[in-house]
């Protein structure tokens, strides 16, 4: 919402300057987006006369001018075709900043001739697009005068951002009322005197909403003004509209635009001679079309409220008028429409057709229903004053919506909700200044909201009005009292698990990424997703159209992008949501990662190697162990999802159903689909599936039992069938003497000629920890025998000779 200071002063008697006004506007909730003070920008620009203009010695198109600035005579090189002796124009001295270009003017030589300033065009001043020639001012303009005052540019323009609840401030009068309530001046009366009509309005009007539950247009008023003379608007009106970025069209149209911004009251004017029969509001009919004032043709919807006559649709009511019946220079008889439309229907129509007019903007937020007639009278008055003519009587169809119920108001609620100490009397004063009627004698008080405040429904709305006018700077900053004892946790254990998993993976050398929650359907399908119920109806692009079933596809795509930037050894992880379905419980938090190419960059010690499954297995188990999962109780099965290499992947399970994690080499077909070079390893840990550590009874750790007796280590090599897993052998060995065996580890794996096809050799190291006394050779041998027997029984493995 834009307006100028002078415009505001027509509604507000105030001595406040532009800065104070801007500051107060923001302070009461009418946020100032910008203040354009051209007087400040054009401070050094003065009125000057060209004394002589001669041909530049070295350039055909340039002229050498001597300019009288009123104080001195300076030489200026000018390229404008209209530069001539006697012209009075705008002079910018060296050092001035040209508003149109933002360039600072310097004294310079142009084609070898000194130039000490510039004669300016309108576009250089930033006041219009006209750059055909330099500005020509009337001959009586005093030399040396400030350009902004000489040209009437000294009225600062203010642009405020109005929140959608304040349609009353989409007119200058409403803004003035708020400022007056906030103590910045006195609101001038906005009352409009009625214009006596001279004879009946020959244009009939009507409302046709038979069978429509909520009338789209509850009230329609109009009148005819005969014998007007339309044409260019007077200077003041044209300048006022241009100052806020509107184009002046003709006096009749400009008047409606002016009232729209002056009072927040949109109107429409028709060339009465182009109308046929009754002008009425009704819903659209199938097949109806409208060629609108914006030059576009719209297919009218049956839910649109239209204004129509016998010939058909004249306009989309409250949104846009039609080309055919608009006012032009030839208009002699004008019909003025002032109506009230249902805000919701206006919003729907505007949205449906994509029309963002000033009228829609106001009607959909809610204009003052009690200002239908005053708006019509104001327009009549201006038309008669500026275009002449004679007004008919007013015709009215329908009535404004019923007045709302009064609100019970307890002034102490202002104190309770805001902490600000505002006296009852001040509460009443503020409400009164904002146009509310207050019965302060009753308790609670009875308050009626003015008709221009559709946003006010209840007591808290009143509290808000009082608080904002009283000023949020008076809110007493008060610390929150302590609520809970220091032992109260702000982060729950599951939430902490999520946080820890990130730190564990980062400590393992992986980079945390945050990638989109959505991806392309093609990618989703590769990872078991892409269900219709997880597909967005209005995605921003096909690449971001469906909720991700796994974090891996986006991480792999990120790896691919980084590979494209020249990185090869990539270790990326993300901890975030993945979606198995649309229900809240279908969203789970995963800690997933990818590792590509080599473990480390090439190094002279040759320590680098290709990443393999056991790197990501280590990632998975490190996270699980650090989160306190019972890593010893998990089973690894070889049935990982389809995006993993079927022979080089595993699923970490706790019990038959609970999958904690998957890991493995990414399936070559997936890498092909992503155009990513292998090897690439990946893992996914479902953090929600990881059981929480048992709640502790005490912070004390279990007692440490460390023996003084030396542990004994024995090595065994077993020949087993290839199908036997290392895990089976290790578990069998550990179980063979559970009291003594404290550790079993695998230190060698051999498959090859020496053991024959279909077989492999697994060498394990078994550590025995004697508890009470040193083990004798005989006892050690006995344990060794039971290890061998145990492994043989469990796996069929033989001790390798």
């Amino acid at each position: 919402m834009k307006f100028t200071l002078a415009w505001l002063r027509e509604h507000l008697k105030t001595s406040a300057g532009i800065d104070a006004i801007a500051e107060r506007l923001t302070a009461i909730g009418l946020e100032v987006e910008s203040v354009q003070d051209r007087a400040a920008a054009l401070k050094s620009f003065t009125v000057a006369r060209i004394i002589s203009a001669e041909q530049h010695p070295n350039a055909d198109r340039l002229r050498l001018c001597i300019v009288d600035t009123g104080r001195e005579k300076v030489q200026v090189v000018c390229g404008a075709p209209n530069a001539r002796a006697g012209l009075i124009g705008v002079f910018a001295p060296a050092g001035a900043t040209i508003p149109g270009s933002g360039m600072m003017l310097k004294a310079s030589k142009i084609r070898g001739v000194d130039s000490n300033g510039m004669m300016c065009s309108a576009s250089e001043l930033g006041i219009s697009d006209d750059h055909e020639g330099i500005i020509e001012l009337s001959g009586d303009t005093p030399l040396g005068a400030s350009v902004s005052s000489a040209m009437g540019l000294d009225d600062p323009m203010i642009d405020v951002s109005i929140t959608p609840n304040r349609p009353d401030c989409l007119g200058v009068h409403g803004i003035a009322r708020d400022l007056a309530a906030a103590g910045l001046g006195m609101l001038k009366s906005g009352a409009v005197e009625a214009n006596p009509g001279n004879g009946p309005c020959t244009v009939d009007i009507g409302l046709h909403f038979e069978g429509v539950a909520k009338p789209a247009c509850p009230m329609f008023a109009g009148r005819l003004v005969r014998g007007v003379k339309n044409g260019p608007s007077p200077d003041w009106l044209r300048k006022r509209l241009e100052a806020i970025g509107l184009r002046s069209i003709s006096t009749l149209v400009d008047i409606t635009n002016y009232i729209s911004f002056d009072r927040g009251r949109p109107l429409h004017v028709y060339d009465a001679d182009k109308l046929r029969g009754q002008i009425h509001a009704r819903l659209g009919k199938p097949g109806e079309k409208l060629l609108a004032l914006d030059g576009n043709e719209y297919a009218v919807d049956m839910a649109d409220c239209v204004i129509a006559d016998d010939n058909g649709v004249l306009g989309l009511g409250g949104v846009i008028g039609g080309m055919a019946t608009g006012c032009g220079d030839a208009t002699v008889n004008v019909f003025i429409e002032s109506a009230y439309f249902d805000p919701l229907r206006i919003a729907a129509t505007g949205r449906r057709h994509g029309i963002g007019s000033d009228a829609r903007y106001r009607f959909e937020r809610g204009v003052d229903p009690q200002f239908v007639l005053p708006g019509l009278e104001l327009a009549t008055r201006m038309i008669i004053a500026l275009c002449g003519g004679e007004a008919s009587n007013v015709r009215v169809a329908g009535a404004p919506p019923a007045e709302r119920e009064p609100i019970e108001f307890r002034p102490e609620r202002v104190r309770a909700l805001t902490g600000m100490n505002v006296a009852d009397a001040e509460c009443v004063r503020i409400l009164d200044a904002l146009g509310f009627s207050v019965d302060a004698e009753t308790r609670p008080m009875e308050v009626r909201a003015p008709s221009w405040r559709p946003d006010v429904h209840g007591e808290t709305d009143l509290v808000e009005e009082i608080a904002r006018i009283n000023g949020f700077d008076k809110l007493p900053a008060t610390p929150l009292p302590r609520l809970q004892p220091v032992t109260g946790l702000s982060v729950s254990l599951p939430q902490n698990q999520v946080r820890w998993s990130k730190r564990v993976l980062a400590a393992r050398g992986m980079m945390e990424a945050v990638t989109w929650s959505f991806l392309s359907t093609r990618m989703a399908k590769l990872f078991g997703g892409g269900a219709p119920e997880l597909t967005l109806a209005n995605p921003i692009s096909t690449e971001l159209s469906v909720m991700r079933p796994s974090l891996l596809p986006n991480l792999l795509a990120a790896a691919k992008r980084n590979a494209g930037r020249g990185f090869s050894d990539i270790a990326l992880f993300e901890v975030g949501p993945q979606y198995a379905g649309e229900a809240p419980q279908d969203q789970s938090t995963a800690a997933s990662g990818v590792r590509c190419s080599q473990t480390t960059p090439r190094h002279w010690t040759k320590t680098e190697r290709a990443v393999d499954v056991f790197d990501v297995k280590a990632d998975v188990f490190d996270v699980l162990e650090q989160l306190g999962a019972p890593a010893g109780k998990v089973r690894i099965t070889a049935d990982a999802p389809s995006w993993y290499h079927p022979g080089r992947s595993g699923v970490v399970r706790l019990g038959p159903k609970n999958v904690l994690a998957c890991f493995g080499e990414v399936h070559p077909a997936i890498l092909d689909a992503l155009d990513l070079r292998g090897p690439v390893m990946a893992f996914e840990i479902i953090l929600d599936a990881v059981p929480l550590p048992k709640p502790r009874n005490s912070t004390a750790r279990a007692t440490l039992h460390s023996s003084d007796l030396q542990p004994v280590t024995r090595d065994f090599a077993f020949l087993v069938n290839s199908s036997v897993t290392a895990d089976q052998v290790l578990r069998a060995a550990a179980a063979s003497a559970p009291d003594l065996v404290t550790d079993v580890s695998l230190f060698d794996l051999y498959e090859g000629e020496r053991v024959g096809a279909g077989r492999k050799s697994l060498a394990i190291s078994v550590t025995l920890q004697p508890r009470e006394k040193t083990l004798t050779e005989k006892e050690i041998d006995a344990v060794a025998e039971s290890v061998i027997a145990g492994v043989k029984k469990a796996t069929g493995g033989e001790l390798r000779g």
Partner: protein
């Protein structure tokens, strides 16, 4: 006698001239070994007269001590020489690069969430969560945004396809639905923050279709806007790690709070750098207000008994302001160069007593 002295001198010379440990050992054996010269001479003592022995005994013993000491000394010298030679040979180029270890990093979004939790945790807030895929009720209706409210158009909402029963799920446009979910779950007093992913159908220089917000909610019988101001002032000081921060509460409008405010913090922009807390410029950082009675009702809380405030701010934006990160879109690019530059070490765990950042 002179013979012994001469022989001893000869033997000492041999010791001194032994050029390595092997040569020294040969000299020792030739002198002090079982058949060594001195050993043989000492064996002759037994056959000597007492007189003779009285002279020769000490002389030979003296020579033996002298030689033993000389051999030990020579051995030490030779060992030192040998070690020096070995050390000289073992010299390496210590400028060779050490074995590489790849360093991980925490994303600024995670770090800032941890910082925010540290600050509000200290004020007694606990962390609450809600799903990304929300119902119309939680995202709009319960927050006093009725179906035709213009705010629904202000939020450029991602919708899922309409279901046969007419329900249309959506991606939450803000973290505010967690307000309702928390009220439904917990009786007042209530103090929660809810960080999380949010989505809007928007993509340009300063908007991404996904971003992060943190919601705050306080409900009890007395919390008022002064508390809101106090709480947010404390937060801003702690978060931006400045002793003082200029703040401005501006009246604004949100359907789910009333009165509503937008909060600006003072800042200064000079030469591409942004200083928070000082300077004449204002920077909008969050929206807040007193929870609207209708929202309390939707959350199952009696607005005649309870009241409170809510606030919401952009985590990515906080990260950009605090750490001088220029472009929001880079947050979600997973560019290793960016992650390395703007990321945080795994051990940089923010805490109030230890400092939020280093």
């Amino acid at each position: 006698m002179t013979d012994i002295e001469a022989r001893a001198r000869e033997m000492l010379n041999a010791v001194h001239s032994a050029s390595d440990m092997n040569a020294l050992e040969s000299v020792r054996i030739s002198v002090l070994g079982k058949k060594g010269v001195l050993t043989e001479m000492m064996k002759g003592l037994g056959a000597m007269s007492a007189e003779e022995r009285k002279i020769m005994g000490p002389a030979l013993n003296g020579a033996k001590d002298q030689l033993t000491a000389a051999i030990a000394a020579r051995a030490q010298t030779l060992q030192a020489q040998a070690l020096n030679i070995r050390l000289a040979q073992e010299r390496i180029d210590i400028s060779l690069p050490a074995r590489p270890e790849i360093r991980g990093a925490i994303h600024p979004v995670s770090q800032v969430i941890d910082e925010v939790i540290a600050i509000f945790g200290d004020m007694g807030f606990s962390v609450a969560e809600g799903p990304d895929i929300e119902s119309d009720f939680y995202n709009f209706t319960a927050l006093n945004i009725p179906p035709e409210h213009p705010a629904r158009q202000m939020h450029d909402t991602f919708y899922f396809n309409e279901k046969p029963d007419g329900e249309r799920l959506l991606l939450r446009t803000h973290t505010s639905p967690v307000q309702i979910r928390s009220m439904e779950k917990t009786k007042p007093p209530l103090r929660i923050i809810a960080p999380g992913r949010t989505y809007r159908c928007d993509s340009d220089m300063t908007h991404t279709p996904m971003f992060h917000q943190v919601e705050g909610l306080v409900i009890d019988e007395t919390a008022h806007m002064g508390h809101l101001k106090g709480c947010l002032t404390e937060f801003c000081k702690a978060f931006f790690e400045v002793d003082n921060v200029r703040m401005r509460f501006r009246p604004s409008h949100f359907p789910f709070t009333e009165p509503s405010a937008e909060v600006d913090i003072g800042c200064r922009r000079s030469g591409g750098e942004l200083r928070i807390g000082e300077g004449e410029d204002w920077l909008e950082i969050l929206g807040c207000g007193m929870v609207h009675p209708k929202v309390l009702q939707h959350g199952g809380i009696d607005p005649d008994k309870y009241q409170g405030f809510a606030f919401g701010m952009g985590i990515d934006r906080l990260a950009m302001l605090k750490y001088g990160i220029p472009d929001l879109r880079d947050f979600f690019e997973a560019d290793l160069r960016w992650l390395r530059h703007y990321g945080f070490a795994a051990l940089d765990i923010p805490s109030l007593p230890g400092g939020l950042s280093r």
